[in-house]
């Protein structure tokens, strides 16, 4: 319905000039603590605006400033420049100390996603303690991905936008050292030799093995 009125509106009021659109994007992003997607920007700006283009100009404008425009997945946000972190000591929120198990589990999810619990245990060589995944889910750094289409249809885990935002990553592809690890075959899921004979159970074998470690 609203589509029909669109052409009329457009002909009556043209989209604001790009400089004005840039101001609008600036205002919206500045006002929000969380990253804002291009779609959300477009929804809040007048008809006919092109927030994606405005973002390009805006990003350039803030290059080298005390505050910079960063990309987080599909969204954008203003963040203080990392080199000025020392001035912000007062703002630092006491962060919950993550256990070593949680940090490793987080890294495995990030680098191997989507990954099942059994696979995480296979890589770590120990059972993942119950609270660990709970804690990462509660921090909203990981979430459930698609179920794996293997026997038992286990749930998988993937990292979230909040994770990317927290670690200043534009996307999961920008994880440090990802390419090298992949090239070295260290992100492969290599099953234990001998478990290949029964291809049906092949997928299950890491699960079966790691269950041995469960209490």
């Amino acid at each position: 319905m609203s589509d029909t009125s669109e052409p009329i509106e457009r002909s009556l009021f043209e989209a604001p000039p790009m400089a004005e659109q840039e101001r609008m994007v600036e205002a919206i992003l500045f006002a929000s603590a969380e990253p804002v997607t291009v779609a959300e920007l477009a929804a809040r700006m007048p008809h006919g605006c092109d927030p994606a283009e405005a973002l390009v100009y805006l990003r350039k404008r803030y290059e080298g400033r005390g505050v910079t425009l960063v990309r987080v997945g599909d969204a954008h946000a203003f963040r203080t420049a990392p080199d000025l972190g020392h001035l912000m000591r007062k703002e630092t929120v006491e962060q919950r100390k993550l256990s070593r198990a949680a940090i490793e589990t987080l890294a495995i999810v990030a680098y191997h996603q989507p990954v099942t619990r059994a696979e995480i245990e296979e890589i770590r060589g120990v059972a993942v303690s119950r609270g660990t995944i709970d804690q990462l889910l509660e921090l909203e750094w990981i979430r459930l991905g698609r179920r794996r289409m293997t026997p038992g249809r286990p749930v998988t885990f993937v990292v979230t936008e909040q994770f990317l935002d927290h670690f200043g990553l534009e996307s999961a592809r920008d994880l440090p050292g990802l390419k090298e690890l992949r090239a070295a075959g260290l992100l492969d899921n290599r099953p234990l030799p001998g478990s290949q004979q029964s291809p049906d159970e092949d997928e299950e074998s890491p699960a079966g093995q790691s269950e041995l470690f469960e209490d």
Partner: protein, 262 residues
């Protein structure tokens, strides 16, 4: 807010669980079998791919032995790996069995080396990740976000954890009913005795015990067993009171009964 009440209890037990588990975890800074192996392989100061798996296995088994004397909880987690390594060690020492189609010792050793290398790579990746500039520590979001308008909209939120906990709570509710024996398929001796008292008056000639079983109790095996046992016990009781006679041709032959005439 009211929600906090019921989730607080669960959160507490999560914390309890965590602290209970960290007891095992904190021993000498070791966390698990592969963890220990990584440490051992580092003390050998050689390439993981070239380490002597045999030597490693020896050291590992030695450690587990020592650890067991220190803390029994530790052993549970470590023993699976220890068993695996002992098996690997025996494979490495013994000549290959041609009839065995399982993986060779070399394959197992290579796989272990791969696992170790991959874990090491993940450890390093994790360290690099945590060394990155982090939001709220090294860079910051707008401290004073402006959500200007007075237009107030109430939204209801719930997290996936809330949802899963709710479902878990409903589904486990039934598991907490007090323990009672499931009596659906049980026929008691008292019931059998009551039934037989009314029936023996008509048992003037020898008749099989099985013919006295109630209708509907002979198809389901559990019901058949239960009712047979109950009736058997009941006829013994009746025989003891001198109300009936019992006979059996041979072992496992049908048991027969008839009214004992006074």
């Amino acid at each position: 807010m009211a929600d906090e009440d019921w989730s607080g209890e669960e959160r507490l037990s999560t914390a309890e669980r965590l602290s209970a588990e960290s007891l095992i975890v904190d021993v000498d800074g070791f966390e698990g079998p592969l963890d220990l192996l990584l440490m051992l392989s580092r003390t050998q100061k050689v390439d993981l791919r070239r380490i002597s798996i045999l030597q490693l296995a020896d050291q590992y088994l030695g450690f587990v032995e020592r650890a067991r004397t220190l803390r029994i909880e530790l052993a549970a987690d470590y023993l699976v790996m220890a068993a695996w390594l002992a098996f690997l060690k025996s494979r490495l020492l013994l000549p290959p069995d041609p009839s065995d189609d399982g993986p060779s010792a070399e394959e197992l050793a290579a796989h272990l080396a791969f696992q170790l290398e991959r874990l090491q790579a993940m450890r390093e990746a994790a360290a690099r990740l945590m060394a990155r500039d982090q939001l709220g520590r090294d860079f910051f979001a707008r401290g004073l976000p402006e959500d200007v308008t007075r237009h107030r909209v109430v939204t209801y939120s719930a997290t996936l954890i809330d949802l899963m906990r709710a479902y878990a709570r409903i589904r486990t509710k039934d598991e907490f009913r007090p323990f009672v024996m499931d009596r659906d398929h049980v026929f008691t001796m008292e019931q059998a005795l009551d039934r037989l008292r009314g029936m023996i008056g008509f048992a003037g000639v020898w008749a099989d015990l099985t013919s006295f079983l109630p209708d509907g109790w002979d198809i389901n095996p559990m019901r058949r067993r239960s009712s047979t046992a109950a009736h058997f016990a009941a006829v013994l009781e009746l025989a003891k009171r001198g109300q009936i006679e019992l006979r059996q041709g041979e072992t496992f032959a049908p048991i027969q009964l008839r009214r004992k005439d006074p």
